[in-house]
Amino acid sequence: MATPVVMPDHMAPARKSWWKVNQRWLAPWMFLAPGVFMFLVYVIFPIFSSMWISFYDWDGIGEATWIGWQNYVELFDDDAFYTSLKNNVIWLVLYMLAVPAGLLIAIFLNQNVTGIRLYKSLFFFPFVISQVVVGLIFAWFYAPNFGLLTKILAWLGLGDIAILADERFVTYGIIAAGLWPQIAYCMILYLTGLNNVSPDQVEAARLDGAKGFRMLWHVIIPQLRPATFIAVVVTIIGALRSFDLISIMTDGGPYGSSRVLSFYMYEQALSEYGFRMGYGAAIAVILFLIMMVFISGFIWKMIADERGGR
């Protein structure tokens, strides 16, 4: 009998609580929606889109023609592709020097003397500057006839070497420029790491007579593992992303000898040599696959940490 009276009373909270009941699983998706949407549109979807484009012959404006694997077939017969690939390997290997070099400088600077904070900031300086500016600075440093390096080499009796115009040295010259900010980056990672090294363990090891290199190798470096991981990750990514310096310092020259895959891709797809979007996309896919090997490694390690950590 009382039901009609109770009914609306029941209904009201029931309707209100739909949100109350469901907000726990709906809320995350509402928070995620804008970010995930943007990321899907501008990052995830384009990856697959590029793979698709790599099977076409397309100038970017007109009709695209499906040509199957032909771009890849052409690529495997393209000397410029192999030069770029070889340079990518050189970049990757030599760029890794940034990790120990950064550690070395970090150890050198990890003291408590007056003004050390300013020194640390100034050592970090190269990382804050744009790669375009770093490229211009080094182009000037290497300039033939009057560049500072040329002067130093001449003073050492090594003669006049135009680093950026010489096919033998050009890639190494650009890598040296790239190492400058990258070493600064690794240094700052290690300075933070060294700051968190457990003093007890260091003191204990010291009492056991460990010092110098043995201390570094057996006590300090194991504790720096998180910093090393990040330093290696950012250095690998940085090496494979190298583009700015090459574009600024040599534009891929002389005779394309300083190209890397990222630069060669850009040149094929968007330069005065014509818009070969399909061929460019094929180069990008190869670069992506190389990068994927490393990315999977990082992700695999991060998942392991996630599982173990919490």
């Binding site: 501008y42 003397v113 100034l122 190269p126 998180p226």
Partner: protein
């Protein structure tokens, strides 16, 4: 502390260290110092072959005004600000939301979405280049600062989500639990409880993203052409082509272009380094 504090070393070592510090710094910054010196040299010094000696007179004002008068660098710098600041705001807005969602809720796709952001953040730019350029053209945003902003916001959200999520995860979870028991809605938990605690993370990301975007060169060349929208990095590249061998102008222009992130870094150093070294200490 490693290495052994220098205060405990012999006086000779201490003295040596205090000499070695400035020497190492000068060597480390040698290329930069050279460029700074060149930027205040009168043009006559360069034609006379005085590249490394001290400037015969200080042409600081002349060179720097010449850079602004003879080139659109003022416009380029303004464009850089027009790209950088909205990108910082947009990225932080999106990534506080995504970071919150991934840190607080244990839904099934959580790790999948999280690793999508992390992995996407590492891909080479070239695999995105052709489709992103097409998309920007289709949206009618090619050669505008807006086209650059949208891409930068989307891409930087990847890195910032990783950062924000880890930051929120480290906050005490009981805070959120007890608010839920009180019946506070999820939106209010985000706005009134979590967001105020995120200030340090927001500050760190703001300086980092500012620097990354200011220094971006690749996307500036891919998505923009005309000097009305060209950021200073790409602008500097085209000026370099015009000012062949006018090294005093190139140097002055480079220093001008580098200045905003440098100032930002010195003002917000603590936040900048906290952002950059995220994860460098936790086991």
């Amino acid at each position: 502390m490693f290495p052994k504090p220098i205060e405990r070393a012999a006086p000779a070592t201490r003295f040596g260290y205090n000499i070695a510090l400035p020497v190492a710094l000068v060597l480390w910054l040698l290329p930069l110092l050279g460029v700074m010196m060149t930027s205040i040299k009168p043009a006559a010094d360069l034609t006379a072959g005085n590249y490394f000696g001290l400037p015969s007179s200080v042409a600081l004002v002349e060179n720097y005004t010449a850079v602004f008068e003879n080139s659109p660098i003022g416009q380029y710098i303004w464009n850089s600000f027009k790209v950088t600041i909205p990108t910082v705001v947009g990225t932080i807005a999106l990534s506080t939301l995504t970071g919150f969602a991934l840190a607080v809720y244990g839904f099934r796709a959580n790790l999948l979405v999280f690793f999508m952001f992390v992995a996407g953040n590492f891909v080479p730019f070239q695999i995105l280049m052709v489709p992103v350029r097409d998309l920007t053209l289709d949206l009618g945003l090619y050669d505008t600062t807006m086209g650059l902003i949208l891409f930068h916001v989307a891409f930087q959200t990847g890195f910032c989500t990783l950062f924000m999520r880890n930051f929120i995860k480290a906050l005490p979870h009981e805070l959120i639990e007890s608010a839920r028991v009180e019946g506070v809605s999820e939106l209010k938990i985000f706005w009134y409880i979590v967001l105020p605690l995120m200030r340090p993370a927001i500050a760190a990301l703001a300086v980092l993203i500012f620097t990354f975007i200011w220094n971006d060169y690749f996307w500036a060349t891919v998505l923009v052409q005309g000097s009305h929208a060209l950021p200073v990095t790409a602008g500097l590249y085209s000026l370099n082509g015009q000012w062949v061998a006018a090294w005093h102008l190139i140097s002055a222009g480079s220093i001008v272009a580098a200045l905003p992130p440098v100032i930002m870094f010195f003002l917000m150093q603590k936040h900048f380094i906290a952002g950059l070294t995220l994860g460098a200490t936790k086991g």
